[in-house]
Symmetry: C2
Subunit: 408 residues, 2 copies
Amino acid sequence: MELLKEGGVTAAQGFKAASTAAGIKYQGRTDMAMVYSEVPCVCAGTFTSNVVKAACVLWDKEITESGRPMQAVVVNSGIANACTGEEGFAACRKTAEAVQEALGIPSDTVAVASTGVIGMQLPVEKLAAGVKAMAPELGSSVESGTAASKAIMTTDTINKEIAVTFEAAGKKITLGGMSKGSGMIHPNMCTMLGFLTTDLSIDKALLQEALSSVIVDTFNMITVDGDTSTNDTLLLMANGLAGNEKITEKNADYEEFYKALEYVCTYLAKTMASDGEGATKLFECKVVNAKSKEDARTLSKAVVGSNLSKAAIFGCDANFGRFLCAMGYSGAKFDQTDVELFFESVAGRLRVFDHGVPLNFDEELAVKIMKEKEVTVFVDMHEGSEEATAWGCDLTYDYVKINADYRS
Amino acid sequence: MELLKEGGVTAAQGFKAASTAAGIKYQGRTDMAMVYSEVPCVCAGTFTSNVVKAACVLWDKEITESGRPMQAVVVNSGIANACTGEEGFAACRKTAEAVQEALGIPSDTVAVASTGVIGMQLPVEKLAAGVKAMAPELGSSVESGTAASKAIMTTDTINKEIAVTFEAAGKKITLGGMSKGSGMIHPNMCTMLGFLTTDLSIDKALLQEALSSVIVDTFNMITVDGDTSTNDTLLLMANGLAGNEKITEKNADYEEFYKALEYVCTYLAKTMASDGEGATKLFECKVVNAKSKEDARTLSKAVVGSNLSKAAIFGCDANFGRFLCAMGYSGAKFDQTDVELFFESVAGRLRVFDHGVPLNFDEELAVKIMKEKEVTVFVDMHEGSEEATAWGCDLTYDYVKINADYRS
């Protein structure tokens, strides 16, 4: 596997992207994007577990589960189209119909995705105009993909895209993707919005299985604020243009693809966590030697999800009791007298708690370690052999600022 | 039942309190309190569900479950005595022994409670000196009780105490209490620290049953930051000095007591929520007509627990989608097309969402309603007949400020 120096959704053969300023919510910046494949794609998707699902989630779920191909996806970053009733669902249909008209592909192969304010209707005419404007601009350049990754941002401060290549069945395969955060991030299926494209030829069921498996330890292990969105959507489109013999079983080629997918999803998930609303740093928790994989996931997610832990990370305060407290209420069972806890970053490693006993540690070194842009709380449970890593960010004044007046 | 104009833990007959500045963490303010009954008490207690339990929680649990009487409780507000191993448990014993020496009561009838930094050992000699200083100062005046309620504060901005009287079996009974917040508040058993005293004569099992039942819809329905503490402790001591015929069954007298206990716990819980760290207002969510009581509790707690909802309340932003989103990921099952949602305060009532459809509402009125000190999100599920109310507070810059440098 090789990481490309640049590129995202347009890296794989046959994929094009475009973006436009449709004026849905933001003025003076792009707020719509489209990703299109020259040929119909096998697709896989994972969606929010929130009972309140956005209209577009229902729309995309239907396509993904129907067995029909997917050939395009249209995204807007102004209005979430959640809690919008039948009118909201009609907006999805009308958007897809606009793509059918502009590009001549069936509307029931067009996915739609939204992020933004909940409980507000989409301006359908603006969306349709946006689609019409984007259709002739679709391009396969790096720039087109990058522009799309910028158009889907809301409170994100950086755009998130990546592309890798790997070999399968003697062919060079490309996998690229983009995603956006950065609030209401506590995926319980996938993250807010993520779009992955590949020119691999693969069986649909296997594609879905790979995606569903990979998100468990990537997108589902990040949290910004504990709020599982109504709109979480991750789509993976595979158009087969790499010309490899179609993957239909879990052979070595599948493993290569799986590793590439895991790499891409880990990168996008971590980038989303570190760019959480108001965040100044990436806050990682690695739990090792837990009794079960599920325990390891639960414990590490509780630590990075705790407001008090997040505030301590922001303040560079090695207040390790908060991390143990979060582990304690996580739901996982353990004995605190087994636990060993460290702070880690590029500046060093410091043991602060050992088998139930707090240690006298070097406070200066602690601050030095915690001042780095990426800080890890490393927890050895000494109770088993399973491990997991979760990613979050610090809780800052800016998180409050961003969210106290987001809508207005 | 009658609410007393003033008073707390010393209101009931035979209860005395004292406080002192022991210099455990804070300088220049009181940080230790003692509550003492002239005669041994029947006691009940509820404690944190956190797997990581503070040493003092284990100590008090043992007394409460042993059947032995309780006659005094010693509290410090500097160090939590959690994650402190055997040395921490020894500190509990030594504190109780200091009370035995000073007051001549058995050390195994002395409860201890702590709040403050986790993962730091208690300075036992300072605690013992504090006990020695408080013993001769024990007083039954309102002032003594109030001083105790101030000594147990950490980041609280107001002390929390209340006392009521009611009649049972022809006698006037008094019930008083005090509690403290105000961070790491997401009780899953009871709140941080609460101490209730009554001169009622009642069977121990009934006392525990009443307490365990009342906390479900009072202390367990508040949240400040979602962090369930390692130290949550609620103790109820009944010394029988009112001289009523002992309550041994759920008769009318028990009901009177239950009502008084519910009133006192509701008051203390709500006050704790509104005085959450950095809070500027009380944020209440009332869910009615839910399918089950459990659903109603889950839904209302999810709404007041959501960071995004809390930030919207701080910003007076009627961003109702965030409330629906929180309900959606709460774990309760419902159909959003059944839901009706209102904002309420003394300034008015406004319907913003009706059976799956967002309404065009008066934004000016929304801001007016949300600017009040107590704001309610009222949700009619239209799916059943059960209801519940949860209390929290807004998420503010000051919450971050308080918690980014709490330990230092």
